[in-house]
Each structure stands twice: as C-alpha cells, then as structure tokens.
C-alpha cells in the first residue's frame, strides 16, 4: 500500500501537468461535438500536426513563438479542411475527419522529413518566456492553471455575446440559424478550425515540453480527449455555458489523475488504451444498457 502511494505521489506532478495540457485537446473535441453538433475526429491529426510543424520550424531555426503560431494556424487549417469536406461534398463528418487524419500522417512525415525530431538542445518558447519552465512541474502547473482559467472566462464571455449566441444556435438548430440570417457554413468552418487550433496548440506545447515531436504522438488522443470530456460532463453537468466550458478542463485533470492511480496500482502502460476505450464504450453504452434493464420487468408483467 505504501508503495502504491509513493508511486502515485511521484506521478502526481507529471499527471497534473499532462492533464492540464491535454485539457486543450478535450476542449478541441468539446467545441465541435457539443457547441456545433459536428462530431469531429480531426484532433487526432491536428495534435501531431501542431507538434510536428512546431518542431520542424524550431529545428529550422525559426523563433519558437513564431513556430507555435504557425502550428496553430496549421491546426486551424486542418479543421477547416474537415469542415469544408463535409459542407461542400456532403461527406459524413466522422468520415471527413478520418480522411483528414489519415492524410495528415503523410503531411506530418513530409513536414518533418523523418518520423522524429529531438528538440532537447534547441530553444523553446516556454523556457524563453519562463526560465527553467520545462524542468519545473510547479511552473508548468501554475502556467496551465492560469491559462485555462483565462480561457474559460474568455469563452464564457464570448458565448454570451451576439457572435457567440450565433455559434450556439448553429449547434442547437441549424435550420433556425439559417432562417435568422446566420451563415451556417462560415460559423462551422471557423468553429471547427478554432477547435483544432486548440488541439494543435496542445501538440506544439507538448513537443517543446517533452523535448521531441514524433509522427505517432497523436495516436489515441481523440479517445483520451473524449474520455476526459465525458468524465468532465459527468462532474460539471451541461446546464449552463460555464459548466459546458469547464467540463473538458475538469475532465482532463481527473482523467489523468485516474490514469496515474491505475499506473501506480500496477496497470501496464500498454494496456491503458484498451482500458480507456472500454471506459468510453461503457459510458456511451450505459443508456442502452439501462433501457434494457428497465424493459425486462415490464415484459414479465
């Protein structure tokens, strides 16, 4: 037991940092899924795209901040491509996302020229702005908490402005939005683009903090983010704009703490994706399971 707590205690700072960073992926999943009613898988490709673009540019001696900015724009573009495929060609949003994720694999390899770029010996935006940042878990946690809080407040403000109401209307009822003069296609493009810019931001940040970008760094990212979102919504609920925005942040934090508990308890890291997948499956399948349980006695009666 003491061993378990010691292991968990050791994992705690890393897990908090990871959870807060991955909250941006969960946010990038929440925006299309919940606000726009546009189930989007692009984050699985936008996340490594952000990391790879940022790493390739830093390796090419571009200023790290500029590299991050380009990574963000690339993520935005990836989201726009997915949304555009759906809007123009009327291809299902999930299929459009898978197409883009698959194509981004080649793009990422092309961007980096190889499957992995180490950044240990190169400058990064975080250490430049806050010396010793990547070595200090305390600094990372402080920064992510502050950034997340600022973002939650900004999003809450935005979603209650005229422009934000329009975004929510597109997700709630696109016929109504159109009938009220909303350019649904433009809102969808901007929304899905912005969501994937957040995922790319997380990818670019992780590449710099962990000191390398890898073409496979996005694998499983979508299911992690979805699991985090589901946990978050179970805790915060979805009754208000603020609760909906808080969900990905709370959820990602709890999710990575639960993962740390699992690892401390001896779960093999390579089994994590299976466990996470089963968890998401279980949560999504729960309503059907409940219905089946309720129906049975009625049949007997």
């Amino acid at each position: 037991m003491a061993e378990f707590f010691a292991a968990f205690w050791n994992l705690l700072p890393v897990s908090l940092g990871h959870g807060l960073l991955h909250a941006f992926v969960a946010l990038g999943i929440m925006i299309p899924f919940r606000l726009l009613n546009f189930p989007d898988l692009t984050s699985e490709g936008a996340f490594p795209l952000g990391g790879c673009v940022c790493a390739a540019l830093i390796a090419a001696a571009v200023h790290p901040l500029a590299a991050m900015l380009v990574a963000l724009v690339a993520g935005f573009g990836a989201g726009c491509v997915t949304a555009g495929i759906h809007l123009r060609l009327r291809i299902n949003t999930l299929l459009a996302g898978i197409l883009v994720v698959t194509m981004l694999w080649s793009v990422n390899l092309r961007v980096m020229g190889k499957s992995n770029i180490p950044l240990f010996s190169l400058p990064n935006a975080f250490d430049q702005a806050w010396s010793g940042f990547t070595a200090s878990h305390g600094a990372q946690i402080t920064f992510w908490v502050a950034l997340s809080a600022a973002l939650v407040l900004a999003a809450r403000w935005f979603l209650r402005t005229e422009a934000g109401l329009v975004v929510r209307a597109v997700g709630a009822n696109d016929t109504m939005a159109r009938a009220n003069g909303v350019n649904v296609a433009r809102v969808t493009l901007l929304g899905v683009g912005t969501a994937n810019a957040f995922s790319a931001f997380a990818g670019a940040s992780l590449a710099q903090i962990q000191g390398y970008a890898d073409v496979a760094m996005g694998f499983g990212m979508l299911i992690n983010g979805l699991a985090a979102l589901i946990i978050g919504e179970a805790i915060t609920g979805r009754d208000s704009v603020l609760r909906q925005i808080l969900a990905p942040f709370v959820g990602a934090l709890v999710y990575y703490l639960v993962v740390a508990l699992g690892l401390a308890a001896g779960v093999h890291p390579s089994d994590l994706k299976l466990v996470t997948g089963l968890f998401v499956l279980g949560t999504l399948g729960l309503p059907a399971f409940r219905r089946a349980m309720v129906r049975e006695p009625r049949l007997r009666a």
């Binding site: 005229e162 422009a163 109401l165 329009v166 939005a177 003069g181």
Partner: protein
C-alpha cells in the same frame, strides 16, 4: 411587395421520378397584404414557400421582394427581408437557449453580429413588449429555456421572432398544423393580431379550409403547381367551404378535416 414572375420548379428532371412541383406561378402581393395559399398535398405549396424564402432556386422565373430581384440571393441573406415560421414546432427555435437568447438571435437578423452583449440597450424591455400581446405570460419567463415550452408556446415565440426587425415579408408554413385545435386557435389569433398591428405583408400556407376562409384578404388555391383560383375583397369574404367544395369538387379529405 412580393412579386413572383413565371416561377417554375421541377424535381429530378429527366428522371423516372420527375415531378413538376411548380408549373407556372405568377403572384403579386401588395404592401401589407395578407394572402393565404391553400391546396392539397403535392399542390406545390411548400415548394412555393421554399422558393420565396430562398431554400430552393427556381428553374425559371424571378422572385422580387420590395422591388429588388432576390432570385439569386441565398436564404440566410434573404432572411433580412423575410420572417418565417414553420410547421414543425421545434424548427424555429434553438432548444438549449433561453427565450431571450432566441429573440436576440432573431433581432440580429440582417446585420453583423457583434462581440457585445445582445441584451444591451434595453433589449430585454423590447422583448417583453413583443411577447406581452400574446397573453401567454412569456414576457415574465425570458430566461426560461425554449425546450421547456409547449409546442404552442414555441410557435408563439417563433412568431414574435419572425416579426422582430420588421421584415418586409412574413412567411407562415402551416404553422398551426401540428398543434391541438385549441392551441392552434390561440396561435392563429395571435398571428392575425400581430399582422394587423404591424401591417406586415404575409404569405401563409395552410391545409385548413376554414382557416383559409377566415383569415387574410386574399385566397390563392394551388393545384398541380398552378394557381387554380384566386379571390380577394368581397368575393373572398363571401366564400364558404361548401361553395369551394362544390365548385372545385375537392376530393382531398385532408383539406376539409384539417
């Protein structure tokens, strides 16, 4: 105010399931006129409204609103001139948003949406004043989510939304057809009152013969994509269901029973 010139629309042209929805429609509504379009299933009523609102492009002909040719203007831009209420009671409102947020979205029709609170400048007071004439007490429930309202209440809110911003044309697509008779009566009364108060040019489609005869200044009967019969003024006021049935030998029960 509304001018339709030689509108034609065929679905699936050249295919085995080709369907001429509008064979040739010419229609002119004066400013402030309230016209009721009636016809059986497949007469082209919905197609006509969709062409007017811009959801469908006609194969031939022109749509003019307030003298401007809007035939090529997409629906979301055309909404600047047109307020719409649909038959489906959940079609015109955003369920997760409150009554005041829905009204704010409608009030922003036809201008760019700003990064500022939609409730600034006494908007809530305007919304209350717009809801009060309905007599449903909705003006006291601005923060209530629309999904918690009944179908009739939602249609009433939809009507208020459609009329916000003084549209040049109000388009009602069987907006009381999905309601129970009493609620339909209430919503219809509110509709007529609002139209008379605001003098909004209105194009209403209905299945209901009694409604078509009781409301509006003009009756337009569609049949197989053409205007079969039109009545205005004294002729319209003198119409009865029996006379129409006799004259046109209508065999569609739905028209009579609706």
């Amino acid at each position: 105010m509304l001018l339709l010139e030689a509108i034609r629309k065929t679905f699936n042209p050249g295919q085995p399931n080709e369907k001429v929805a509008l064979a040739r429609i010419d229609l002119a509504l004066d400013k402030g006129e309230f016209a009721v379009v009636i016809g059986s299933n497949g007469a082209g009523k919905s197609t006509l409204l969709n062409v007017v609102a811009g959801d469908l492009a006609p194969d031939a002909g022109r749509v003019l609103i307030g003298g401007a040719d809007v035939t090529a203007v997409p629906a979301h831009e055309r909404s600047r001139f047109i307020g719409r209420v649909f038959q489906d009671t959940s079609a015109c409102t955003a369920p997760g948003l409150s009554i005041e947020e829905n009204l704010a979205i409608a009030a922003g029709r036809g201008r760019s949406r700003r990064l500022a609170s939609p409730m600034r400048g006494g908007a809530r007071e305007r919304f209350r004043n717009a809801l009060a004439p309905l007599g449903l007490g909705l003006e006291e429930r601005l923060a209530t989510r629309v999904e918690l309202l009944s179908g009739g209440q939602r249609q009433a809110v939809s009507l208020v939304m459609a009329l916000l911003g003084e549209p040049k044309l109000l388009v009602l697509d069987e907006h009381t057809a999905a309601l129970d008779p009493r609620t339909a009566e209430t919503v219809m009364r509110a509709t007529v009152e609002a139209i008379e108060r605001t003098h909004t040019t209105t194009l209403m489609v209905t299945h209901n013969m009694h409604q078509a005869i009781a409301c509006g200044e003009r009756l337009v009967m569609l049949h197989e994509g053409r205007v079969l019969f039109e009545a205005t003024g004294a002729e319209k006021r003198g119409l009865t269901v029996e006379a129409l049935v006799k004259r046109f030998g209508i065999v569609d029960d739905e028209l009579l029973l609706a």
